[in-house]
């Protein structure tokens, strides 16, 4: 046993629900309660809740907040009005991805950044090195902030019971201060499942009551296992798999999140060059031979040469087929093309299919 694992404020709730707890990025987190497939279906068909309090929350405040975020992220944050949230990347000067994040514009000169749990320390150090001339204050509130994701076609109806009309009025990627059964929260219409849904930020002290209230409103507790399978089907990237310091946004099909025309930012020069000159590409594939592809399995051309690797693979609970994402040489990123995934030392045939596997069902105007 090395360093003790971190626990979220909802740990006791997970134990009470008989969750199977596992290590994830230094945290002891629920991987499943009743079963991954049941929990996955609950979110696709009804509503599920996830404890994602392990994720990082940084506040950016002060008169240069916008200029600072324009410089350290790939997004055009000037397009993000108060009450809106958007996806962004931190990129390295060479174009590799430090992390992916969501930016929530709460108020004038007041932004909330949500980053991956496993990257909190790295991201904090990364953004602080660029503060320099900017008049901004960065605050790491990760330890004091609980985050519960409520996702699924019934999420709106469930949340309405606790926050009222705002659950209906809040638009896709909208964010607002709100009151949940009398408790102060921030609520956003964001998520990581491909379904309509919300994310609820609260103090640690209020989190357990919010969690239990949502369970009381028939939301199904879901673990990290279902979170992974739910994000995989609509092909939402997971840092450390589809994204890394050595994978650039164009390879990961996230060019849409890089706004080169907003002015200079960290990585903009390299990204300008990479846009028309990247060598690998993320592809969606279906295993047509016998077997299930998993992350890190090698991918080779039918003629035998190595062309890449699987980033994520699993049997898709919704589609009932073994599917995968792979980062391969661009010449092989052609729908209908075939390659082999090496599964337990044997080549197993796979075919490149339409990306994504599952069309997200967000509530759009």
């Amino acid at each position: 046993m090395s360093t003790p694992l971190l626990r979220t404020t909802l740990y006791d709730d997970h134990v009470r629900l008989n969750a199977r707890m596992v290590e994830f990025g230094g945290w002891e987190m629920p991987v499943q309660y009743t079963g991954i497939i049941d929990e996955h279906r609950a979110v696709r068909e009804r509503a599920g809740i996830f404890d994602v309090s392990h994720m990082g929350e940084f506040w950016v405040t002060g008169p240069d907040s916008l200029a600072f975020l324009q410089y350290v992220t790939t997004a055009d944050v000037s397009q993000l009005g108060i009450g809106q949230a958007g996806y962004a990347l931190f990129c390295r000067p060479d174009g590799g991805v430090v992390d992916d994040l969501f930016i929530y514009h709460l108020d004038v000169d007041r932004y909330l950044l949500v980053v991956n749990a496993s990257n909190i320390a790295k991201d904090w150090e990364w953004i602080n090195q660029f503060v320099g001339k900017f008049s901004v204050t960065l605050t790491n509130e990760s330890d004091a902030t609980a985050l519960i994701a409520l996702q699924g076609p019934q999420a709106e109806a469930v949340l309405q019971r606790h926050i009222g009309q705002l659950a209906i009025d809040l638009p896709f990627h909208g964010v607002s201060n709100a009151t949940f059964d009398g408790k102060s929260i921030i609520v956003a219409r964001t998520g990581y499942t491909g379904e309509d849904g919300f994310e609820v930020f609260s103090s640690n002290d209020d989190a357990s009551a919010i969690w239990q209230a949502l369970i009381g409103s028939s939301a199904t507790a879901c673990g990290l296992g279902a979170r992974d399978s739910l994000r995989f089907e609509p092909c939402l990237a997971l840092y450390g798999h589809e994204l890394s310091d050595t994978i650039n946004p164009y390879e990961a099909r996230l060019g849409w999140a890089v706004k080169l025309n907003k002015g200079e930012f960290v990585g903009s020069q390299a990204l300008t060059d990479l846009k028309s000159n990247f060598s690998r590409r993320l592809v969606a594939f279906e295993v047509t031979g016998k077997g299930i592809a998993r992350g890190d399995y090698p991918v080779q051309a039918i003629t035998g040469e190595r062309i890449g690797h699987v980033t994520t693979g699993m049997p898709s609970p919704t589609l009932g087929k073994p599917l995968g994402l792979a980062l391969v040489e661009r010449a092989y990123a052609v729908e209908g093309g075939e390659f082999d995934v090496i599964i337990r030392e044997k080549p197993v045939r796979a075919v490149v299919v339409k990306y994504p596997f599952y069309q997200s069902r967000y509530k759009r105007p």
């Binding site: 991987v31 499943q32 991954i36 497939i37 296992g225 992974d228 399978s229 077997g291 699993m314 049997p315």
Partner: protein, 129 residues
Amino acid sequence: MSFKTPSELKYIKSHEWIKIEGDTATIGISDYAQDSLGDVVYVELPDVGARFGAGDAFGAVESVKASSDLYVPAGGEVIEVNTAATEQTDLVNTDPYGNGWLIKIKLSGDQGELLDAAAYTAFVDSIKH
């Protein structure tokens, strides 16, 4: 949570069980193994006639989340494969010591360290957290 470990079976630390009857044996995965894995959705088994030494990988069981290689507790030649388990994979979860068995082998005499039910239960307790 406690797991079933029938006393008439032997176990190995990679969580397979073996039931030896004369010169043949039946092999499957333990109740603890199926529970750890979660809903089994894919079972890969060898062909009849395949030969393995004790401790060799003979296939895999997979859930949505994880893949787990299967190891033979004793060496031998595969004489029967449970196609019911490959077609109806939840048998491995619901009845790991019965209808969810995986392969039958003709023993070659090559055998690794086998644990009795008490020793295996103690081992599982020691790795659970």
